[in-house]
Symmetry: C4
Subunit: 290 residues, 4 copies
C-alpha cells in the first residue's frame, strides 16, 4: 500500500491554534495590548468552534497543532478537539522559533509541551516547529520522544521517510503558499503583514495548487490559523475549497497521524538522511580561486 492510497493527491487539513502565543513570543509586553490580545483570542474562542462545525458538516478529518502554552491556558480546548474526532499535535510550548533558542532551550520547550499534553490525557504523535523554524537538532528531538512524524520542512511536496539515527520519522512537508498567514495576517503592533488578500484570491491560489498537486501526486498540506481563517468570508472560501476537493473524486483526506503511518509503511519511499549541513565560507573564495 502506497502512502497516497492511489489518490491523485492527499489533503491534510491542519490548523495551527496559536492564539496569543506567537505575539507574546515576540514581546511579553504585548500582554498589555488589549486589542492585539483580543485579535489573537478570536482564534480558539470563535474560530475553532466554527471550524469544528464546518469539518462536521463536510465530514472531513483534520489535525490541530497546538502550542502547549495554549493548551494550558485553555484547559478543555485540546480534548474538545480530540472529542470531535480530530488529531491534536505538538506545536512547541511557547511558540518561540527553535532557531532562536539554544539547543538546551529547544529541548526544554519541547518537553514542557509534552508534559502539558500528557497531563491533559491528550496523545500526540506528531510535531510541527513554531514558525516552521526547525533546527538541525529538531528531528532527533522528535524521534527521541517517540513521535511518528514532523511537519516543518520543505524539501519536497510529497511525504518522505526521514532517517534519524536508528529510527525514522515521516516528514509531511509544508509550504508558505499553503499557509493562510501570508494571505490574511495583518497587525500593526507587532507589525505583521501588508495588504490583506481577499478570500477569492486565496481560494484561487489554493485550488490551483491542489490541481497542480493532483498532476504531480503530492501532499496538499494546508495550514490555517483559526484567528485568521475563522473569519466568516474566509470560512466560506475554505468550505468551497474542501467541496471542490471532494468533488474531484481523486483526492483523499486524512489526518496527519494516519498519513504518517502509511508513509512509514510504504516501501517505495526509502529513508532519506538529513542532508549534511551546507558548508559555505564566504571568505575562502579568494584563496581557493587562485
Amino acid at each position: 500500500m502506497s502512502w497516497h492510497g492511489g489518490a491523485a493527491a492527499v489533503v491534510t487539513l491542519t490548523f495551527d491554534v496559536d492564539a496569543e502565543a506567537p505575539v507574546l513570543a515576540s514581546g511579553a509586553h504585548y500582554a498589555r495590548h488589549l486589542s492585539t490580545m483580543s485579535h489573537q483570542s478570536y482564534g480558539p474562542d470563535v474560530g475553532v468552534p466554527r471550524i469544528l462545525d464546518l469539518l462536521d458538516e463536510l465530514a472531513v478529518p483534520a489535525t490541530f497543532f497546538v502550542p502547549g502554552w495554549v493548551a494550558e491556558q485553555r484547559p478543555g480546548l485540546a480534548m474538545s478537539i480530540v472529542d470531535r474526532g480530530h488529531e491534536v499535535a505538538h506545536h512547541s510550548y511557547g511558540h518561540r522559533p527553535p532557531t532562536a533558542m539554544a539547543p538546551g532551550e529547544e529541548r526544554a520547550d519541547f518537553e514542557r509541551a509534552l508534559a502539558v499534553f500528557a497531563a491533559q490525557g491528550v496523545e500526540v504523535v506528531g510535531h510541527r516547529a513554531a514558525n516552521w523554524a526547525a533546527t538541525r537538532e529538531t528531528p532527533a528531538l522528535v524521534a527521541e520522544h517517540g513521535l511518528r512524524y514532523d511537519s516543518s520542512l520543505m524539501a519536497d511536496d510529497r511525504p518522505y521517510r526521514l532517517a534519524v539515527g536508528e529510527t525514522e520519522l515521516a516528514e509531511l512537508p509544508v509550504h508558505w503558499s499553503l499557509d493562510d498567514w501570508e494571505q490574511y495576517a495583518f497587525l500593526p503592533d507587532p507589525p505583521i503583514g501588508t495588504v490583506i488578500e481577499s478570500p477569492a484570491k486565496v481560494l484561487e491560489l489554493w485550488r490551483a495548487e491542489l490541481d497542480g498537486m493532483r498532476h504531480y501526486q503530492c501532499l496538499f498540506n494546508l495550514c490555517c490559523h483559526p484567528f485568521l481563517s475563522g473569519r466568516p468570508s474566509r470560512l466560506l472560501a475554505l468550505r468551497q475549497l474542501i467541496e471542490y476537493a471532494l468533488g474531484c473524486g481523486d483526492v483523499r483526506f486524512t489526518r496527519c497521524a494516519d498519513l504518517a503511518t502509511a508513509v512509514l509503511a510504504d516501501p517505495a519511499l526509502p529513508p532519506r538522511p538529513l542532508p549534511p549541513q551546507p558548508r559555505y565560507d564566504s571568505n575562502s573564495s579568494a584563496s581557493n580561486a587562485r
Copy 2:
C-alpha cells in the same frame, strides 16, 4: 428584542476622521511637510462632505469617530456631522495609541477629548481607541466617563457585553479586514503602505465578508477614513457596497450608539469579563519542564 433585530447581519458604517492627527502623532515635524499635510486634510475638507452626501442619497445612518484635536482644529466639523443625522464618537484627543502612553497620559488624552466635545455641545456616547490599540485600562476609562460602548477590540465578530467593574459596556468589535487603511493607504513619508489596491478588489473583499457575516449573523462594522475612501472611485465602490447590502433585504443599518443600546438590553448576551492578562514567561520553560 435581540441586538440584531432579526437581521442576518447588522451594518455599522463608521468613518474615522483622523485628518492630520495620526501623521503628527508619529512625528510633529511632519507639520512642515506640506504635501503630506495636504494628503491628510483632504479627509475632512473633501472626503467628509462627499460622504455625507452619499449617506443622504442612500438614506443610511453612520458613525464618525473624531479625534478631539481634529474637532478643535475645525470647529464646525463635528456639529455639521451631527446636524446631518449621524453620530459623532470619541476617537482620542491626539490619535496617539494608548499602548504607547503611560496610564496617566491615556487618561489625560481621553479626558481632553471629552472636554473638546463638551465645549462644542456634541454628545458622545462611544469610543474607539486610536490605532485600535486599547490597553487593559481603556475599558474602565470608557465606563468611568459614562460612555455606553467601545469599538476597539477583536475578540469576536458579534457585539458583546463587556463587564467593567459594576458597569457594562457594549463592545462593537472591529477587524483589520473591514478597514480601508490596509487596502488604500500609501505615503512615503511617514512610510505607510505598499501597493495600493483597486476599489474593485476592496468591494469584492467586503462583499464576501458581508455574505459570510450574513451566514454567521455578525456585525459588519466597516471602518473607512475620509482621506482614503473619499477619493472618487473608492466612493463609487462604497456606494456599490451599500447598495448591495440594501438589496440583500436581510441587513440592518444602524448607528453605533443605537446598536450599543440594543446590545446592552439583549438578555441573550450575558456580560463577559475582560479576559485575564495572559501570563507568558519565556524564561520559565526550562525550569518548569523538568
Copy 3:
C-alpha cells in the same frame, strides 16, 4: 470659462523623467551599481521615445517633469520633448525631497534647475516637487520665480488657486493612486517596492478612478515614470487607458501649463490661502486636559 471647459473630467498626462536621479539622491554610491543605473537609464533612453510615439499616434498632449540634473546629463532630451509639442516642467535639480533639505538648500536646488532650463532655451512655467515632498516654503519659491503652477499637493482632486503673498499659483493636485510608482516600481538595492502589479490591474484601477472623477468632475492628473511605464505591456495598458478616455466623449486632455492658465482665469475658483501650519503638541495633552 471654467477650468474644465464643460468636460466631465480633465486629463493631464504627466511623465516624471527621473532617470538615475532619485536613486543617486538616496546614495551617491549607487553610481557604481551598474544594474541599478541601467534600470534607471531605460527611462529616458527607451521609455521616452516610445511614449512620444504613443502620444503622437493618439494625438494627445502631455507634460514632462524633468529634474535639472537629468536635463543636464542628456543635453538634447528636454528640447526634443518640446519639439514634439509637449510641455517640459520643473522637477527640482537633483530629485532630492525638499523636506529633507534646509530652506537655503531647497532654494539653491530650485534655482539651479531653472538655470539649466534657461541655458537650454526651454521655457518652464510649472513645478512639481521631488517625491511630492513640498515644504511650506515651496509655493512661495515657485511664485517668486514667476512660474504659474505647482503640482505637488493633495488637498483636493480639482485644481485650485493657491494664494501666495500678492500672487497666485494654480495648484494641480496629484495623488498616489494615480502614480505608476506604487504599482510597478521594484528594486532590491536601493530597496523599493514589494510585489509588481500587472498592467491589467493598473488599467482597472485607473479606469475606475477616471470614472469616479467623471462623476465628481475632477482632474485626472496621471503620473507615469518612463523607466516604469515605458515597458512594453505597461505602454499597451496606458494606450488602452487613453483610448478609453478618448472614447468617453466627455473627457478633455490638456497640458498642465494650459490648464493652469484656465484655472487662474476661472472666477468660480476663489483663491485659497495655504492652510496654517497645524499646531500639535503631544506633551500638552495632560496639562490642558485638567
Copy 4:
C-alpha cells in the same frame, strides 16, 4: 541575419538554480535553519527535474544559471542539465552581489566559479551577476575571461552589443517584472517577500508582457527559480505560458548562448559603450546654482 531572425519576439527561458546560496550569502548561520535550508534545496532536488521534464515535453531549449558553489555541492547537477540539451551559464560562485564586494573579491569569486565549471567539464559562455547587481567592473571581467554574453543589465529590452575595451559582449537584458522572485518568494527568516501571488496573476502578467514585447519586437528573457517555480501550480502556469508563446506563431525560443552569437553578428546592432559613470554631487547644488 538579425538577432531576432524575423520573429516578433524572442524568448529565452532561464532558470537561476540558486539553491541555498543566496540565503547563506545573507548569513552563514542559516545553515543551522533546517526549515529554510529545506525550502532552498527543493529547487535543485525537486524543481529542476520537473522543469527538465516540462522542457522535454514542450521541446523548448533553456539556459540554467548556476552558482559555482551550487555546482560544487551537487557534483552531477550541471552536467545533467547539459546532457538534456540545455545551457549552463555562470552565476557567480557564492551568489554574493558584486556590488557588496571589493573589486578583488568580485574577481576571485568570478574565477572560482569558472574553476568549478572547468573541473566538471561544463563549458560556460555567458554570465549573470548574483542579485542582478553588476558593478562597473563586471563587464570587463566577463569579457576578459572569454565569455560571449552578460545578462544582468536593464538598459533596454532588446539585446545590444556592449563594447568592452577591444572586445564586445552581447548584453541580454533582464527585468524585475519577468522574474518569479517578486511574485512568489516568501521566507520569514531571512525576511523575504510579503504576500504570495497566485500563478494565475503571474501568468497574466507575463502573457501581457510577451504580447507587449511582440508589439515592440523585444527579448522576453524570463527568469525563474526552481525553488519557486518548481512548485506544482506554478509549473502548470509556466507550461501554459510556453504553450501560449508557441501558439502565437511569431515567437522564437532560443538558448542565451545562441542568441548571443546572433546578437554579436547582427550589423544592425552597433556596439554601445558602457555609459559614463553618472556624476552626482548633492552638495554642489548650492554653489553651482549661483
